[in-house]
């Protein structure tokens, strides 16, 4: 039984398992909550733009030039990474919490296709939703800012677009890291803490390190990486230490290392 109608058995399994994982994701409520979280984050960014605009309008002419607002696409990165990091965690740990992982692995005893399909669905969903939310933020905040020169809306489109893709890539990397942590720890709480540490705690800790370590460490942490991938630095780094391809490679490791550990754990441990 190696081929059925010209399609190899392996390919059939992969599409079947992918389909199954997609059904699992779309058939539970937490999926809508995560998408709602992304939408709310985008709305929050629009509100921030509106608030900045009214602040700008309230300032006397002489002080307006001093008002520079950081890129809201980079600001939305944090809530999006948390949302989809938790999503990645839940896609795996909900199966351990409910016990459905057993029937999943009984149905696919080679196991790795289950993890690969989960990763593919998590990556596709978080990349698409991350890109959509970042793009919505980019255009809505510009529209709201209008002609007021407030920094973030003065960036030309050619620089803004790479930033959107970098933001979405970081969201997907965190989501995949969440899935990997979930499979290694099998614990929702533990994995969510891991995601928060990665996204939020480590960058703050890095900022408080003495130089030159603060810069060096920040360069390989998420906020720094997003800036270096797109070439639009904001906040934690004053200059790029990594080229965009290097930064993208480090970002990929954020997904690859936990997923690799997950594949190993899934293969070796009793379910």
């Amino acid at each position: 039984m190696t081929s059925v109608g010209g399609v190899s058995e392996g390919a059939r399994t992969v599409t079947g398992v992918l389909g199954a994982e997609w059904v699992k994701v779309r058939s539970v409520r937490s999926f809508s909550y995560v998408l709602a979280g992304a939408a709310m984050s985008a709305l929050l960014m629009a509100a921030l733009a509106w608030y900045s605009a009214s602040l700008y309008d309230g300032l006397p002419d002489g002080q307006r030039a001093g008002l520079s607002v950081t890129s809201l696409v980079s600001v939305i990165g944090l809530p999006l990474q948390i949302c989809f990091g938790v999503f990645g965690v839940l896609v795996v740990t909900s199966e351990y919490a409910t016990g459905t992982i057993r029937s999943s692995l009984v149905a696919v005893p080679r196991r790795w296709p289950v993890l690969a399909a989960k990763a593919a669905v998590v990556a596709a969903v978080s990349l698409a939703a991350g890109l959509a939310a970042a793009t919505a933020t980019f255009f809505s905040t510009r529209a709201i800012a209008g002609e007021r020169p407030m920094g973030f809306n003065e960036v030309p489109l050619s620089e803004g677009v790479p930033e959107l893709f970098a933001a979405a890539a970081a969201v997907a990397a965190v989501a995949l890291a969440g899935a990997g942590l979930g499979a290694v720890s099998r614990s929702t709480a533990g994995s969510v803490i891991g995601v928060v540490v990665l996204v939020y705690v480590l960058p703050i800790v890095a900022l408080n390190l003495p130089e030159p370590w603060s810069e060096r460490v920040s360069a390989v942490l998420l906020p720094g990486l997003v800036g270096q991938v797109s070439g639009v630095l904001s906040g934690t780094l004053s200059h790029a230490l990594l080229s965009p391809p290097q930064a993208l490679a480090v970002l990929a490791l954020y997904a690859a290392v936990p997923l690799g550990a997950a594949a190993l754990a899934l293969r070796c441990r009793d379910a």
Binding site: G19, A20, S27, R102, S104, V106, D270
Partner: protein, 303 residues
């Protein structure tokens, strides 16, 4: 066909299964019995590739489970009916499993119909009663129309109607030529459902027998009362029976059937006031067997 060969499984320090061997053939229901912690679930988990054996092997149709492609077409299993995502509908729950083995949505609807859940197919499984969850678990096992079926305590917590439904389903699945392995702690249930029995205790095989043989093995003879007991005893002994006085006053007769006793008494015109066949109930037999396993273990021998 299921073959368990010298299977051992240790979890850290505890030995869950210890050198267990048995096989389960097609066409009948095999009951898998043992007290709590005997290793029934562990054996099934190893059979299904969920746990790796410490030593030995467990094969389905001669294959290690993990080597089977599209295993749901060959093996169906119910391990834990409560293992559901409460927010997912019954239909979606089955569809997730079906997709992985290239089974279509039409078959999902079919098995839901078969187990009587078609009416609630789109309802969230979290709201299901225990009996409905068991039915959903059985539907999942039947999805691929497999030749080998494993059920871990499917009747736990079911009402009498549900128990009867499962009993009849098991028997009909076996009658279709499938291999059916059914675990339970209840001998009374197995007595009605199973043809063969595999009894284990503390991870070891206690006996592998048919329900009929087990009943025969625990036959305690016939209690006979007669006003002419001495003459009757002589006649029965002459016919090859072993006769002993029973503590309750009558004769304890073993080695001949109750009908033979009646015929002999009639032929010799001996009156009989009582003739009661006394086999230990299978439940008692089972208690005795499993209690025995503990003793044997203390003396360091299997069986």
């Amino acid at each position: 066909m299921i073959e368990v060969k010298e299977l051992s499984k240790r979890y850290g320090g505890t030995s869950a299964v210890d050198g267990l061997s048995f096989s389960v053939g097609p066409g009948r229901v095999t009951g898998f019995l043992g007290p709590n912690g005997a290793g029934k679930t562990t054996t099934m988990r190893v059979l299904l590739g969920l746990d790796a054996p410490t030593s030995g092997e467990a094969l389905v149709d001669g294959l290690r489970y993990a080597r089977i492609r599209r295993p749901m077409l060959r093996v169906g299993a119910l391990l834990d009916a409560g293992a559901l995502h409460g927010g997912r509908s019954a239909f979606d729950h089955l569809l997730c499993l079906a997709r992985t083995n290239g089974i279509g949505a039409r078959r999902v609807a079919e098995v839901l119909e078969q187990v009587g859940l078609a009416g609630v197919a789109r309802k969230r499984a979290g709201g299901f009663s225990l009996g409905m969850k068991q039915r959903l678990g059985i539907a999942a096992a039947l999805l691929g129309d497999p030749g080998v079926l494993l059920f871990d305590e499917p009747v736990n917590g079911l009402d009498p109607d549900g128990v009867r439904w499962i009993r009849e389903l098991m028997r009909s699945l076996a009658a279709e030529g499938r291999t059916v392995l059914l675990s339970s702690h209840l001998m009374s249930e197995m007595e009605l459902t199973a043809d063969r029995l595999v009894v284990i205790g503390r991870g070891r095989l206690i006996c592998d027998t048919t329900v009929r043989d087990l009943a025969a093995r625990f036959d305690r003879g016939v209690l006979v009362r007669s006003p002419r007991a001495a003459e009757l005893a002589e006649v029965l002994t002459g016919a090859g029976a072993a006769v002993a006085p029973d503590p309750s006053g009558g004769l304890a007769v073993t080695g001949v059937d109750v009908s033979v006793i009646g015929d002999l008494a009639a032929r010799h015109a001996l009156p009989i006031h009582e003739a009661t066949p006394r086999s230990a109930s299978l439940e008692e037999a089972y208690m005795e067997l499993t209690a025995g396993s503990v003793e044997h273990r203390a003396h360091g021998s299997a069986r």
